[in-house]
């Protein structure tokens, strides 16, 4: 310290007075993170292409089924959209998290709020909100398509019960969270996407082959194959064993990477 420095007035400027500063409310964090998901071109196009894909899928389904006079239900339209969004929602879950790392904005984000678990939680919640929005859009477009189908074909079938709706919502959220968990583990967009697609398409094939060939693996498989276990959600009437398998396999594919990844984010030096 320099000898020439004037002695500062006691108590003034030395200590920060924090008494009037409120911690950043969680809701505000969520709003900011939500904004980040669409304010870049990459994010905007991802969201827009999810929407357009839903629209295209249901319109094509409508066109094909009316031309071919196939029987369609409300649930079939929504299911078509769900099939497609289940590919892109995980990518959304991944990019919500990894874009902070690839663009190095994590430095700024964590400097503005060092409570990293809250920031990560806000991001996960944004993923859930966007998934719910996708579900709402799918159902709305599905309803319009079903109405048009009725107008053209002369009969409508509104079979899409509450259990279906709940199952649809839950599986979509789980798909998004699956991407989010891998993103937390790798903190790298490309790696997380590749591994997610391997998990989604390559692994079921390997599981099926393994289960078909090896007796003990066939017994083990339901406990570690999360994608098969999710069928319990659709059936709704699953046994306690089915639900147990869902929980265990979910723990393996969601819980472990998420916990490990978040532990890493909390300790990581942010560069």
């Amino acid at each position: 310290m320099s000898a020439g420095a004037p002695a500062p007035a006691a108590g003034l400027g030395h200590a920060l007075d924090l008494s009037s500063t409120q911690p950043i409310p969680f809701a505000r964090l969520v709003r900011v993170e939500l904004r980040k998901s669409y304010d870049t071109r990459a994010g905007f196009w991802l969201l827009l292409s999810i929407g357009l894909l839903v629209l295209a899928a249901e319109v094509i389904a409508l066109a094909v089924t009316t031309v071919q006079d196939e029987a369609m239900q409300f649930g079939d339209f929504v299911g078509t959209a769900a099939f497609l969004t289940s590919f892109l929602l995980p990518v959304l879950g991944i990019m919500v998290l990894t874009s902070e790392w690839s663009q190095r904005t994590a430095m700024v984000t964590f400097a503005l709020d060092p409570r990293r678990p809250l920031v990560i939680a806000a991001k996960a919640l944004v993923g859930v909100i966007l998934t719910l929005a996708t579900v709402a859009v799918s159902i709305a477009i599905g309803a319009v398509c079903n109405l048009l189908y009725g107008a053209i074909e002369g009969h409508t079938d509104w079979t899409f019960g509450f259990p279906d709706f709940v199952a649809f919502t839950i599986t979509q959220v789980l798909a998004m969270l699956g991407g989010f968990a891998l993103a937390a583990l790798f903190l790298n967009t490309a790696a997380a996407i590749v591994v997610y697609f391997v998990y989604k398409w390559v692994l079921p094939g390997l599981f099926a082959v393994g289960a078909g060939l090896i007796g003990w693996f066939s017994d083990l498989r339901p406990w570690i194959d999360f994608q098969v276990a999710q069928e319990a959600i659709w059936d709704w009437s699953g046994s306690g064993r089915d639900w147990a398998q869902l929980v265990i396999s979910g723990f393996v594919w969601l819980g472990v990477p998420l916990v490990w990844g978040i532990w890493r984010v909390l300790r990581a030096e942010v560069k």
Binding site: S2, G4, I24, P25, R35, V108, A111
Partner: protein
């Protein structure tokens, strides 16, 4: 006030910061000076909780950074102006910061005006910003929450001369109003003009600290003078006759003596002087000397 106590950060066997302690006083601009890779950035990253220290700690106004609620309202941070999403517009980047801190949008316009970014420029994406524009945006982001402490890593990097002068005025005024400013640089001239207090770091260790006078007083430093005469040869001969060391420098001479002695010699020999001044760069010599074993280049 920033207090660094016994801070050490190791990466494996490499020690980036080695037992560093110093204090940045409110109302003063503290310059953090050292060659590339001396540990300035690591120290600043530990300050704002982005890098966990191996030993020691840093408090800002008596608190650990991570314990400050809504820290953007108390501490303004600029570590790397390029560490922003290249696809966002400058305005959007400030918008996100303002929303996180809970500030009204009017604050964004104030800040843009303060750092002289035009509305048109603020609507361009960061990808299309020059380094200087990114730096201005980064300073705007740091000042957004009207903090009482500023931590800026190489803020003058990429600014044009007018920009550097502007920043100097901005930070001086900020300190005069009671703010604490810590800024790092590897350019001595830059810090010399702006900082009230200087911390010299090399190889992760503090090699000297104090204000300019204190630093120079502590150094073994010989006076030097730059002089130009109508007849340089005659002056050189006269000075040599007095036993002074003379060397040609540019259009004139460099003499290892106080200017007054050179002037007296010229007057006694009736030599007309065109230019006479004390050689600057005493601080630079000191800086190079103190950090000589940490410099990448041999100092001649």
């Amino acid at each position: 006030m920033i207090t660094v106590e016994g801070l050490t950060r190791k990466y494996g066997s490499f020690t980036a910061v080695d037992d560093v302690s110093f204090v940045c006083q409110p109302g003063r601009v503290t310059g953090f000076l050292g060659p590339n890779g001396a540990g300035k950035t690591t120290t600043m990253r530990v300050m704002v909780g982005l890098t966990p220290p191996t030993a020691g700690r840093v408090t800002i106004g008596g608190h650990l950074y991570n314990d400050i609620p809504n820290p953007g309202r108390h501490v303004g941070v600029l570590l790397d102006a390029s560490a922003q999403h290249a696809g966002r517009t400058g305005r959007e980047i400030l918008e996100l910061g303002a929303r996180t801190m809970g500030l009204p949008s009017t604050r964004i316009d104030e800040m843009l005006e303060l750092v002289s970014l035009t509305p048109a420029e603020s609507k361009r994406r960061l990808r299309n910003y020059s380094l200087g524009m990114k730096q201005r945006l980064g300073i705007a982001h740091a000042l957004l929450g009207d903090p009482s402490v500023l931590i800026l890593d190489e803020p003058a990097n990429g600014l044009d001369p007018a920009g550097i002068r502007w920043m100097r005025g901005l930070l001086k005024g900020y300190a005069e109003r009671g703010g604490t400013v810590l800024l790092s640089s590897h350019l001595l001239n830059e810090v010399e003009l702006i900082a009230d207090e200087m911390i010299l770091i090399g190889h992760g260790r503090i090699v000297a600290q104090g204000d300019k006078k204190t630093l120079l007083a502590g150094a073994t430093h010989t006076a030097a003078t730059l002089v130009t005469a109508l007849d340089n040869e005659a002056l050189a001969a006269a000075l040599s006759a007095r036993g002074l060391t003379v060397a040609p420098a540019g259009e004139g001479l460099r003499v290892d003596a106080e200017p007054v002695e050179v002037g007296r010699t010229a007057a006694e020999n009736s030599i007309v002087l065109v230019d006479l001044r004390a050689a600057e760069g005493a601080l630079e010599d000191l800086f190079l000397e103190l950090t000589s074993d940490t410099q990448r280049e041999e100092v001649a």
